[in-house]
């Protein structure tokens, strides 16, 4: 890969230096805020020149609890992963927030980046993370009356028979 050369961690390092990070991780800078400071940190990155939120998704680490995390970050079942992009600095930063299973909630960052509207809805729909403060926390890909969140690891593939809405049930 020709783009494997790590970019200088200028902006990411200057913001919130107390935030734990993994060094030399492929191309992007990683940051691991606590759930309470997550939104403030995203806003700080936006003010530091990260104009766009490129991607937001969630991961269910139920069957893979031992992933590499920096010291001081306790692994939880869920993780919300936000990829921010700075056009002016040509730099990416990835923010990973731990979200506990007992309370799968995290602040919505739709006020900071309106473009995460659909992405947060998708994460809610498929993984079941509730983004508090999102004005329209509804399912987006699955039918409204679907039960469960398909991308969770304890949601068995093929366990639920495919059922089209309003169609008569299986014999």
């Amino acid at each position: 890969m020709s783009d494997a050369a790590p970019t200088a961690p200028v902006a990411a390092a200057s913001i919130l230096p107390e935030v734990p990070r993994l060094p030399n991780h492929l191309v992007d800078q990683l940051a691991f805020p606590r759930r309470e400071t997550y939104k403030a940190m995203v806003a700080a990155f936006r003010d530091a020149g990260f104009e766009m939120c490129a991607d937001l998704c969630a991961v269910d680490y139920l069957t893979h609890p031992g992933r590499a995390l920096p010291e001081g970050v306790a692994p939880e079942r869920f993780e919300v992963v936000v990829n921010l992009l700075s056009l002016s600095m040509r730099q990416r930063v990835r923010i990973r927030v731990q979200v506990p299973e007992s309370e799968p909630e995290v602040d919505s960052i739709v006020d900071v980046y309106p473009g995460v509207d659909a992405m947060e809805r998708e994460a809610y729909d498929l993984i079941g993370i509730v983004f508090t403060g999102h004005p329209d926390m509804t399912r987006i890909l699955m039918p409204e009356d679907w039960e469960g969140h398909p991308l969770r690891k304890d949601y068995g593939v093929g366990r639920v028979p495919v059922q089209f809405k309003e169609a008569p049930g299986p014999r």
């Binding site: 890969m1 020709s2 992007d28 490129a54 991607d55 991961v59 990829n83 004005p135 329209d136 398909p150």
Partner: protein, 480 residues
């Protein structure tokens, strides 16, 4: 049917009502009517709706949701908020109408459903309702090995399948940490650019059709077919080729590929000027595209819009240039930008990107290095077919790769490329097995679709078709 017939049913009350109606009684009746309307509405909605995913009447929409839908969040200065009751205060539910467009509509490019709130011919609010083509590809990606994974992702954006394979392969290779032989890189670049040409041609065709230019549709499909025949010759399939795989590409280019590509470039470049004549200079086309569906650069950035939509607003952001992958940093090309971010700018950005892609392809033909078309690492790519007959080891490697796949070291990576529709990203989490623990695709169409409410707002219903078309959503990618 009058209200009191139903609710009171008495003859003597009928006469009374006709003569005089006390204010209390009037208010009571009004309340009854409103209640009945609501019941009817609920029943109607229950028959047809997806419930909360739909565009709700104003009175039942939360202030935050309303701000979102009218795009007021974006037009405000940073951090500021308006009083929610200020938004379109003059609009009442009984003056507007919410209608459905799609999912079965010829100009929604698949199964996109838009709920539009109309005031006469003017669009006030829009809400895209998606998910009709949701096939759980991200979930399926967790069940397939990395070898099989490219077959899965290629079906997402079915108009430029090779770019999907490319981003998936790049992400996998970043996790494994292998370096590709130069020829593999350049073949990938060739296929990616041809794919962009085919995709933009397809867009020209459908956009032409949406704006009433049937000839453009025929021309676009005709030229796209040329590219697809080259794909068929190279990969064996017109679409969903599974040609770009982790570790390289599936096969070397066929003999005489330079001539085929030369003819392709020459024909399509010459014909791109015919499109100019057919569309760019045509007054009807211009009137339907110029100043329709405008977007500012700030709005595009705030909504995470990428690709031609972002570039049409004047932001020179093209990942091939700004964050080069493959060997794009060794190639000369221009990043096409627009000014006003309207339909016409998006059209001209795409038309000129076809020409730029052809410029890139010509350089690739000249500079194509010799050598291997895939990495010679038996743990990642299968041995050549001939070796299997001679070598027991080769047979074992072959068997292992196609039954178990290869193991990928633990880690997570986000890789993004410039697809014809914008930033196509792939986020893979690996737990050290031969299957991705989590595979997430950042689909440009999915994100770009969020610009629709803003683009359509205040415009005419008739322009909706033109605007949807110019956003260029591919529903296979939106819903995944």
């Amino acid at each position: 049917m009058s209200e009191h017939d139903h609710h009171d049913g008495g003859d003597e009350r009928d006469d009374q009502d006709a003569v005089e109606l006390s204010p209390e009684r009037f208010a009571e009746l009004e309340a009854e009517v409103a209640e009945r309307h609501e019941v009817e509405e609920r029943q109607l909605v229950a028959e047809t709706s997806e419930g909360a995913q739909e565009l709700a009447p104003r009175r039942t929409t939360s202030p935050g949701g309303l701000r979102q839908e009218v795009g007021a969040v974006l037009r405000l200065p940073e951090g500021g908020y308006v009083d929610p009751s200020d938004i379109d205060i003059e609009e009442r539910d009984d003056q507007t109408m919410i209608i459905n467009m799609g999912p079965q509509h010829p100009s929604t490019h698949g199964v996109l459903r838009l709920m539009l709130e109309l005031d006469g011919e003017t669009v006030l609010r829009t809400k895209p309702v998606i998910g009709y083509l949701h096939t759980g590809m991200e979930k399926q990606g967790e069940e397939l090995t990395y070898v099989q994974g490219a077959t899965n992702v290629t079906r997402m954006d079915y108009l430029s399948p090779l770019n999907n394979e490319l981003v998936f392969s790049l992400a996998t290779e970043a996790l494994i940490g292998i370096e590709l032989p130069p020829r593999a890189v350049w073949i990938r670049m060739l296929m990616s650019e041809l794919s962009r040409v085919a995709s933009h041609l397809m867009w020209m065709a459908t956009n032409g059709m949406d704006l009433g230019s049937t000839s453009m549709m025929i021309y676009g499909f005709r030229e796209r077919e040329m590219v697809l025949s080259f794909f068929e010759k190279t990969t064996g399939l017109r679409m969903n080729t599974n040609f770009i795989r982790p570790g390289g590409v599936a096969a070397d280019l066929p003999d005489g590929w330079e001539d085929d590509v030369d003819i392709l470039c020459e024909t399509i470049l010459a014909r791109s000027f015919e499109y100019d004549e057919l569309l760019t200079g045509q007054p009807i086309f211009r009137e339907r595209t110029e100043a329709v569906g405008s977007l500012s650069a700030e709005e595009a950035l705030a909504l995470s819009a990428t690709g031609p939509i972002l570039r049409s607003t004047g932001v020179p952001w093209d990942l091939r240039r700004t964050m080069p992958y493959l060997a794009y940093d060794t190639i000369e090309f221009d990043v096409i930008v627009g000014t006003y971010g309207d339909n016409f700018d998006r059209y001209s950005v795409r038309l000129n990107e076809i020409r730029e892609s052809i410029r890139i392809i010509r350089q690739i033909v000249e500079m194509m290095p010799p050598g291997d078309y895939r990495v010679q690492d038996r743990k990642v790519t299968p041995p050549p077919r001939a070796r299997i007959d001679e070598s027991m080891e080769a047979l074992i490697h072959h068997f292992k790769i196609f039954t178990e796949g290869f193991r990928v070291p633990e880690g997570e990576v986000y890789v993004a490329i410039e697809s014809p529709r914008g930033e196509l990203g792939c986020y893979i989490v690996s737990d050290g097995t031969s299957k991705p623990y989590r595979m997430h695709i950042r689909a440009p169409s999915f994100v770009n679709l969020q610009t629709l409410p803003l683009l359509l707002r205040g415009g005419l219903m008739a322009d909706a078709v033109a605007v949807i078309s110019s956003v260029d959503p591919v529903m296979g990618e939106v819903d995944r």
